[in-house]
Amino acid sequence: MSPGTTSPKHEVHPRHRLNETIHAPVRFSIVATLAGADQAEFSFVRDTVEVSDSVLSKQVATLESAGIVKVKKGYVGKRPRTWLSLTAFGRRAFHDHLAALRDIAGG
């Protein structure tokens, strides 16, 4: 930019900063639940969000493919366990999403 010139200030409406993957209601609830935890067991998220196993699996797969959620499978004894956590990218994306929501809420 040459001295003396000013760039036009272009205010982007906060709705454009909402993350489309997180914005869907069930996915928003999943990410919000995981935001308070280092990691959470699949059944805990299912019970908190109040969805069926199949709905949660499908939404988690979408979040995983977007790099927002990490899925870790393991066993406790003979019982299979699935642990969910937010990735660093997912945590940042949710933080930015909440910031956009606050801007919208503030009018």
């Binding site: 709705r15 919000a32 308070g36 935890a37 280092d38 990691q39 067991e41 004894g77 019982r79 809420a105």
Partner: protein
Amino acid sequence: MTPLTPEEAREQLATADTLATTSGTDARIGAFTTAGVGALVALMLAMSKAFAGTNTVAFLIGVVVYVLAIGALMIWHGRRFRVANRGWSRRYRASLGVTMTTYTIGILWATGGSPSWALFAPYCVLVALPMLVAAGRSARR
């Protein structure tokens, strides 16, 4: 994407706050496990000073009891623990690291210097302390 009204945005923010409030039961399970590991490591150190090199049978029984107790605690934790509240994993690992470091120093001290119980007993408490403090913090969250 459907445009949000300020009221809808406020509702979503309230939902996020509610959902991020994690389980008190799991906080207590995590705290109990942390405190339990710290206490068992400290007891193992005290047992090592009491019996290692002087009473091999008692020492071996102590080691077996320690291994069984740690194993039982880990199995119970694995079965009951459903959510690690934010920061629990970091606090657990950090406090375990300090406890195991002081435990190793304690073993070297006990085998090399023959310290008195008046000094060694408080040291055993010191070994457990980082994990007890971490447990207290985890339970309060």
